[in-house]
């Protein structure tokens, strides 16, 4: 059975975030933040959660290799800066050591006596919002494939890598469907690369998370991204169902018209690989 390899320090898995940074990502969401700002916030929070899940009292265990690829009118590039700019994929401990900055953010929480108290928490930032130019999606997927072919060669028995692709528009460098199918054929002995797509559309349509068929999707681009997406493995379906999501056994890793909550849920479910060791 695929997707059953245990994740350990000797057998890590990889998460590669591929983020659309085209000009339309500057459009505002209902919260008033731009899509680019919200995706950056959700991505930083997800990276923090990945670091936190790997942090034990004695230090950080390298269960994950993680990278971020951004694409926009200037082409495809590493979405990270500073010490993380030299290569795309890094062990998770490198993220722990190298946030680009640590912000103090306010958080309201229950004071345990029926009131609300405001506290300050440290919020590390690795990825800043960018929104400029076109959408070279084929070039971005090609770069992702190059990274993951090399990673799978070096980790043949690991739980396969997961790509979490966030986009809001049509590709401007050609049809990405066939290329996506090639990406999904990259594999380790434990299964094929998982490609999950999140469509941050501005259409006035209710969000649709992890659908089982393209028939209910409102436009051809949403249907294309659905076809580009991997079926969710059983353990992710169980995780999503336990989390209260209505996810059928034939669901694919695709979310349409995502607003804030759906973006966070997409990243959370997409990064729940098998049991950590």
């Amino acid at each position: 059975m695929p997707y059953e390899a245990q994740i350990s320090r000797n057998g890590p898995t990889a998460f590669l975030f591929v983020v659309d940074q085209s000009g339309s990502m500057a459009d505002k969401m209902s919260s008033g933040k731009s899509k680019a700002e919200f995706v950056a916030d959700a991505l930083n929070r997800t990276l923090m959660n990945l670091v936190t899940r790997c942090t034990k009292s004695e230090g950080v265990r390298n269960y994950f290799d993680v990278g971020v690829i951004g694409y926009n009118g200037n082409g495809v590039s590493n979405g990270l800066s500073g010490a993380l700019e030299s290569q795309v994929l890094h062990p998770i401990s490198a993220f722990e050591q190298n946030p680009s900055r640590i912000e103090d953010r306010k958080r309201k929480q229950d004071d345990g006596a029926g009131g609300i108290v405001e506290t300050t928490i440290k919020f590390p930032v690795w990825f800043d919002p960018v929104a400029t130019g076109g959408t070279p999606m084929r070039a971005a997927l090609t770069r992702a494939a190059e990274e993951l072919v090399a990673w799978c060669d070096a980790h043949p028995d690991s739980y396969p890598p997961t790509i979490l692709h966030v986009t809001d528009g049509e590709s401007t460098d050609g049809d990405p469907e066939e290329l996506a199918s090639h990406v999904r054929q990259i594999r380790t002995n434990d299964g094929e690369v998982l490609l999950f797509n999140l469509h941050a559309s501005t259409l006035g349509h209710n969000p649709i998370s992890f659908p089982s068929a393209e028939s209910g999707l409102p436009d051809s681009f949403a249907k294309l991204l659905f076809r580009m997406s991997s079926p969710l493995p059983d353990h992710l379906i169980r995780f999503a169902q336990n989390d209260g999501a209505a996810v059928a056994m034939e669901a694919r890793g695709f979310t349409f018209n995502a607003e804030a909550a759906e973006i966070v849920q997409f990243f959370d479910i997409g990064t729940r690989a098998a049991q950590l060791r």
């Binding site: 245990q6 350990s8 923090m48 670091v51 936190t52 899940r53 942090t55 034990k56 009292s57 950080v60 722990e96 946030p99 640590i102 229950d110 440290k122 590390p124 169980r238 336990n242 049991q275 950590l276 060791r277």
Partner: protein
């Protein structure tokens, strides 16, 4: 009550220091406890140890009981001196199961408490009599409630039926040679599947273990055959003989 066997095999045989299971069974005590610290936790090794040790000192688990364990846990860490990632992981919490029991010699019975998916299998003449908190191996794939260092996750302790849902009493007086096999989840799932698959050969093998080396041999063999999940695996085997009033054993 007599300890027949106690041993543990870490998930990574070369890293026994990373074993997050804890076992407590003091000499001369009628109490025993087993706790399995969750891997996805900040310091579940310490948390599991604190829970198991506190149970054998005082088996009356309650919200106040957990508060005392939590005070010991917090005293062992200096939050202000931690890096941002350790602070975040500390605030996310540590989680662990608790399987504890007390042998009531006068009643020749064992009172058991189980929070999470560490299981106790009662066998007699090498046959499974009952299991607690469940006997269906598929239930190991659920996400059980665990005791947490974050009190808001321990709300189930406040429920009026907490002891009904998590506790049971095993009556031993009609059994010939009762043994109680207490174990953490990977071993428990394997044992319950073995009970159905090979007519209890696995249970007999567990009950006959005499050394930690034998347990390691069994665990590594079954992991290699992909019949047992790779996880810390801890086993405690207890036997019970009823004492007559003149001190002679009667069963």
């Amino acid at each position: 009550m007599r300890q027949e066997f106690a041993g543990s095999v870490p998930k990574e045989p070369g890293s026994p220091e990373a074993n997050e299971d804890a076992l407590a069974i003091p000499d001369g005590s009628n109490c025993f406890a087993l706790s399995d610290g969750a891997s996805d936790s900040f310091d579940s090794r310490l948390w599991a140890k604190l829970l198991a040790n506190r149970f054998v000192d005082d088996p009356g688990v309650s919200p106040a009981w957990v508060d005392l364990a939590l005070a010991d846990y917090e005293a062992a860490h200096d939050f202000s001196a931690m890096s941002w990632s350790k602070q975040a992981a500390f605030e996310r919490g540590s989680f662990a199961t608790l399987l504890g029991g007390e042998y009531l010699a006068d009643h020749h019975a064992v009172e058991l408490l189980a929070v999470g998916d560490s299981v106790a299998l009662l066998i007699d003449d090498d046959q499974l009599v009952s299991a607690w908190p469940f006997d269906d191996p598929d239930r190991f794939h659920e996400r059980p409630s665990l005791l947490s260092t974050i009190m808001r996750h321990n709300g189930f302790l406040e429920a009026s039926d907490f002891w009904t849902r998590h506790g049971t009493t095993l009556h031993l007086d009609k059994l010939i040679a009762p043994r109680l096999l207490c174990m953490t989840d990977a071993l428990g799932e394997w044992a319950l599947r073995s009970s159905a698959r090979d007519n209890g050969d696995g249970l007999r093998e567990l009950a006959s273990l005499r050394s930690e080396g034998q347990l390691a041999e069994l665990v590594l063999r079954e992991r290699a055959l992909k019949r047992m999940r790779v996880d810390d695996s801890t086993l405690l085997v207890l036997s019970f003989e009823r004492e007559a009033r003149d001190g002679l054993s009667i069963s």
